[in-house]
Symmetry: C2
Subunit: 252 residues, 2 copies
């Protein structure tokens, strides 16, 4: 890297030739800031201090650009390490990692979630999910449909969380304003609790189905004893993923 060639004057943003990955990185920055719709080939070019038409030398078109950004970000996440914990915990870990990624780049993920090819058969994520369902005792013919449904469910809940629908729906039927000022506080912990609630509910539902179908080979411990109650406090719970690799973004 030749540093001797100093930029002409002032803040030149790019002293290096255009690269596909560099274009993706700049696009991700713009998407994080203003959303996918606001990302424009022309605005991206000026952010890169380049001519708009130069981009087309590295990226076929805008759609391919977005796909590339989504793929690059997804690669951050698809390297989930498996452990030999109970399948319930492994599913929880996969889902919370998914959610962490959604929190990190909400604008991009809201777009990615609407793309049908967001999850690919080669993804380590898909392999981990299907392997977990297999370990749980799901019959082989049902593993892929169940995995697909779980992806759809988690994506649906995350989409509703990201666009604010979850929060708005939970607060429907506005309560009459009492004397004290009870602001709706920050949305964070309540949505944490709701996410755990869906996860627990579908896991419990899966367990029931596995047990009903005769002895399931992998589901020997019932979650009934540790099932959270309706009235469990949002501030803490026994359902925290036991720090086995799921790290949460700083509450902003």
């Amino acid at each position: 890297m030749t540093k001797a060639k100093l930029p002409p004057r002032g803040t030149r943003k790019r002293d290096v030739p255009l690269t596909e990955t560099g274009i993706y990185a700049a696009a991700l920055r713009l998407i994080d800031a203003d959303g996918v719709d606001a990302l424009t080939m022309r605005k991206l070019a000026t952010a890169l201090d380049a001519n708009p038409m130069s981009l087309y030398h590295h990226v076929p078109n805008r759609d391919a650009l977005l796909r590339g950004v989504a793929r690059a970000v997804g690669a951050q996440f698809r390297t989930v390490t498996l452990e030999n914990a109970a399948w319930q915990e492994r599913i929880r870990l996969l889902a919370t990692d998914f959610r962490t990624l959604a929190h990190r780049h909400p604008n991009l993920m809201a777009y990615s979630f609407s793309q049908p090819d967001f999850i690919q058969p080669e993804d380590p994520f898909w392999a981990a999910l299907t392997a977990t369902l297999d370990a749980a005792g799901v019959p082989h013919s049902e593993i892929r449909p169940i995995a697909a449904l779980m992806c759809a469910v988690v994506i649906g809940v995350l989409t509703a969380e990201l666009n604010g629908a979850l929060h708005q729906w939970s607060n429907l039927e506005p309560i009459v304003p009492a004397d004290g000022e009870e602001g709706p506080a920050d949305a964070g912990p309540e949505e944490d609790r709701m996410f755990r609630l869906v996860l627990d509910t579908i896991i419990t539902g899966l367990e029931s189905r596995l047990i009903t179908d005769g002895d399931a080979q992998g589901a020997d411990r019932s979650l009934a004893t540790e099932a959270g109650s309706w009235t469990s406090e949002p501030s803490f719970g026994p359902r925290q993923p036991s720090g086995s690799g799921s790290r949460w973004p700083d509450p902003v």
Copy 2:
């Protein structure tokens, strides 16, 4: 513009002044045909045989137009009649009616599902859902979060069905082609089965939670005896909503 001046081709589409509802109807036709992104103020105007700028006299802008179309179509559905069946069946009915609407206008609903204000507190649908959860014995403080999560889950599954993700994910890991030609057939019945599967799973999960929390006042009958098995045939099942109002669109 006098009537004597006819457009070149004889079929004049509009001999009546522009109306807000007429604009919505024409917009819905275009959306059904080509999707929301392809709906353009200019194309809509030519479809109505009007000047593009005339539309702005009845509709503030394109966003308001789309909201209006979504609201008009949603009103078709939000008049769900409640019965006094078991809460499980009532939830199934609400969900399948939702799905019927999604099948009738897939392009529009794929857009509506991404709008956070698609479900409003005044909707009969929301009232029916919360009343059903209340009847099931869900504690009052949890009714709205649970209803919100069920909406998010159903919307997630329907979105994945509409954009083909559900079908694609289910067919991941391509099977080695055996001797016989086992084509993937039509996507319809398999997705019917998957939709019932999610519904049953979350209903079973809810039942478990209700029973675990001590006696739930409304859940006296267990679904265990009628719970479908993993290997139930897709062609029929005991889970059909008993013809109590859920009508399916003609399989196209």
